[in-house]
Amino acid sequence: MPSMDDYRGQEPAWCPGCGNFQILTAVKQALIELGLMPHQVLLVSGIGQSSKLPHYMRCNTFNGLHGRTLPVATGAKLANHELVVIAVAGDGDCYGEGGNHLIHTIRRNIDITLLVHNNQIYGLTKGQASPTSDAGMVTKLQPHGVVLSPFNPIAFAVSMDAGFVARGFSGDIPHLTEMIKEGIGHRGFSMIDILQPCVTFNKLNTYAWYRERVYRLSDHDPYDRRLAFERALEWGERIPIGVIYRNHRPAFEGLVPALKKGLLVEDAGRPPIDTLLNQLY
């Protein structure tokens, strides 16, 4: 059984009180509870405060470019689909710079678990609006307030027929741990949008703000897409957390002919290309 010790990493460079600490705890906890060892897990992240997470634990890590978390994770998963691949991104990273990859990774339904640290702000670059910033939020770069409508990742994912769509809250670690475990357990792409207070730059969506609104879903049938869409639109007075939508579309890895014979990474050496050459004569 792995322990917290196995997952010990570098000293976090986050601000004291940041919601990212709670997410870190939940991720480690989930992996431990699933009995996974660090070498079995690959964390792929982008650039942002959130994306530093893999450094603060111990496991295979590819900390890549801002916005490009999902394609790297996709390539790695296809190369070695025995790895447990988790993509860690910020709301700017995943819904801003990397929005296109999210669309198509959902379509691909590859068995990756995506954790979006949604602090509704650009943290690392010091507080510009993110795609999920509430309308009207004033920042240095948006001195007249945000005028774009906020991106609703849950409604979006439901409309895309994503296989596993959940929302967590960093302030509820046990629930978040469950979400992550379920996400990893889900065969196919799973997306967990995690509400994460940024205590430094987001003075609007604070712990208190979230705590007042967030409630755990119960009595909800995540397999009903229309119902899920309803739930997805709920944002304001009350904000549901939990698994909002599920289905069991076949995962990508099962549909790619090349993976039928085993892992790509199990090097078969030089293939015999005589047939290919002969076709050219």
């Binding site: 450094h55 890590t61 390539g75 190369a79 198509h104 993976l259």
Partner: protein
């Protein structure tokens, strides 16, 4: 006498020129000739003007000739555009009925291709009639065409095969009978068995032979053929050939796959490559091996999407922000492409670096006859740790004397924890801020450039070591330059060719050869003479100039000869 004929098939997009041309080229290769075939097409699916041009000979041919011996005109425009290219004994083959026009000049051969096709079973077979007619005009043996038609149409059933043979034969016989002016004399070739292969096919098959298991790309002319070929072999060779949502995803997927342990590549053209440059830099920083085929076409921007240019030598050399090592290879033809891409994978993995394989539309879409390809010539050097060398405290970016860190893959040997970062990092791969580690890591990465340089072969000199005129080229202009050199020497101009199919790092021998030459020019399919400037940047040597072409069309040997003569005389 040496056989050296050119057949040009002209017509609109959608008329099946590619099929006619390819079948004809195969027949001629099978008949024992050397063949070079190139394609000229527009960025549209129907209409416009395209051609497919085949040169065949009983000596080696490497580029297109300027004269046309048989013009197969599938539309009137082809006649108007290309009649001026006819050689003395040249003939134009056309169907007066379908072109709704009748030409009276003696060098036209009227063949009722449509009628013959309908007789044989359907209008669709007009192209087969045309192929047959060409062979008839050449007074060539019909048997090989029969075989090729069988292979081509096998999948569609015996009736289709039979009808096509019938159509081919009727064209063959009609032309043989009616072309009294056809004076083509064939030699039967040298009887050697050769393959016919395009640049894109060679790159794809070379990659497969190198053990590449992953290609992610976004469609873009003229690179698309590579992933398409690999996709067609995906199941047989367990290759993931993934069409990405965009080029950014393409390169990042390939990097992810490479990091996880498989040989991975991408292929694109200039516009798509722009979107990959951040990924190039990422591969540089994370020291992830990656092979990029950059199939150039005329820019800027969308430019001329289906035409050729060598406009991105400097862009590939300096692409991606920050400084990090790389290699740039530039195969000269399909045969070379097969080997070069294998070498690219070796360099990429040995030095955990980005390696470019520069292609262009001329290389990608042209066909060459090749004596054979040796799948064993280039070994596979993966530069990976053995399982028993993997330790618990594995350092992905360990600083070593060569700059190369021992490379393990995630989870290897049931224990490897592999960490890397696009931020500057320590030996373990974790993000850092301090100046000393930064400096050490820059030096470590740049050190690898020396290792890469040691892999570069001595550049090929064709001709005298101390020529009066030295023509320096890179990539796909090889065939035209080499043939120009032969012509110039025959004309008494002592000329040699220095050809770089491995450009970067620039081999020091290049300077020596230039020093030995009288006057040196680069010959380049671009406006600014990039190789010339690169040579000056690296050696300080000022060449006489660059012979450039930038209208989107490839050089011919004849044009190079004229340009050299002009330069000498003017």
């Amino acid at each position: 006498m040496v056989v050296d004929y050119t057949i040009k098939i002209g017509g609109e997009a959608g008329q099946g020129l590619q099929t006619i041309g390819y079948i004809l080229a195969r027949v001629l290769v099978r008949a024992g000739y050397h063949v070079f075939a190139n394609q000229d097409y527009e960025s549209r699916i129907r209409g416009g003007h395209n051609f497919f041009q085949i040169r065949f000979s009983d000596k080696r041919v490497l580029s297109a000739s300027e004269g046309v011996d048989i013009l197969v005109a599938l539309d009137r425009a082809s006649i108007e555009r290309h009649r001026g290219e006819l050689t003395g004994d040249g003939m134009i083959l056309y169907d007066p009925d379908s072109l709704k026009v009748r030409y009276r000049e003696p060098f036209f051969l009227d063949v009722p291709m449509q009628a013959l096709a309908i007789d044989a079973g359907g209008r669709v077979m007009m192209n087969t009639v045309a192929v047959g007619a060409v062979l008839g005009m050449l007074n060539h043996d019909f048997g090989i065409l029969e075989d090729v038609l069988k292979e081509t149409f096998m999948k569609k059933g015996t009736e289709v095969v039979e009808n096509n043979i019938k159509a081919g034969r009727s064209g063959y016989e009609y032309a043989k009978e009616n072309c009294r002016r056809c004076v083509f004399v064939l030699s039967g070739g040298d009887g050697r068995r050769r393959m016919l292969i395009s640049g894109n096919e060679a790159l794809a098959i070379g990659a497969i032979n190198a053990g590449c298991r992953f290609i992610s790309a976004y469609p873009m002319t003229p690179s698309t053929g590579i992933i398409t070929y690999m996709a067609s072999k995906a199941e047989e060779f367990s290759i993931v050939a993934e069409q990405a949502e965009d080029e950014i995803a393409a390169i990042n997927m390939a990097i992810g796959a490479s990091f996880a342990g498989v040989r991975a590549m991408t292929a694109t053209s200039g516009g798509g490559f722009c979107l990959m440059t951040e990924g190039v830099s990422l591969a540089g920083m994370t020291e992830t091996p990656i092979v990029i085929v950059l199939a150039q076409r005329p820019g800027p921007a969308t430019g001329l999407p289906t035409r050729t240019e060598q406009g991105e030598l400097f862009f590939s050399l300096f692409s991606g922000h920050g400084e990090f090592p790389r290699a740039i290879l530039a195969p000269r033809d399909a045969e070379d492409a097969f080997y070069t891409i294998q070498k690219a994978f070796n360099i990429a993995e040995k030095y955990q670096s980005v390696v470019f394989v520069m292609s262009d539309q001329h290389l990608a879409d042209s066909y060459w006859s090749v004596d054979g390809l040796d799948p064993q010539r280039i070994g596979i050097e993966r530069g990976l740790l053995q399982d028993d060398e993997v330790s618990e405290g594995y350092l992905r970016h360990r600083i070593t004397e060569t700059g190369v860190s021992p490379r393990a893959i995630p989870g290897q040997a049931g224990k490897a924890v592999v960490v890397t970062d696009s931020d500057e990092h320590d030996e373990e791969g974790h993000i850092i801020e301090d100046a000393a580690m930064r400096k050490a890591m820059v030096e470590k990465r740049m050190k690898k450039q020396e290792g890469i340089a040691s892999e570069i072969s001595i550049p090929a000199l064709y001709g005298d070591e101390r020529p009066d005129i030295l023509l320096i080229g890179w990539g796909s202009t090889h065939g035209a330059i080499i043939e120009a050199v032969d012509i110039l020497n025959k004309k008494g101009v002592n000329t040699s060719m220095l050809h770089l199919n491995e450009i970067w790092p620039l081999h020091p021998k290049v300077a020596d050869i230039i020093h030995g030459a009288g006057t040196a020019y680069t010959v380049e399919n671009n406006f600014t003479g990039q190789l010339g400037r690169l040579i000056r940047m690296e050696t300080g040597l000022d060449l006489k100039g660059s012979i450039t072409r930038y209208d989107g069309r490839p050089f011919t040997a004849g044009e190079i000869v004229r340009r050299v003569e002009d330069a000498i005389n003017g």
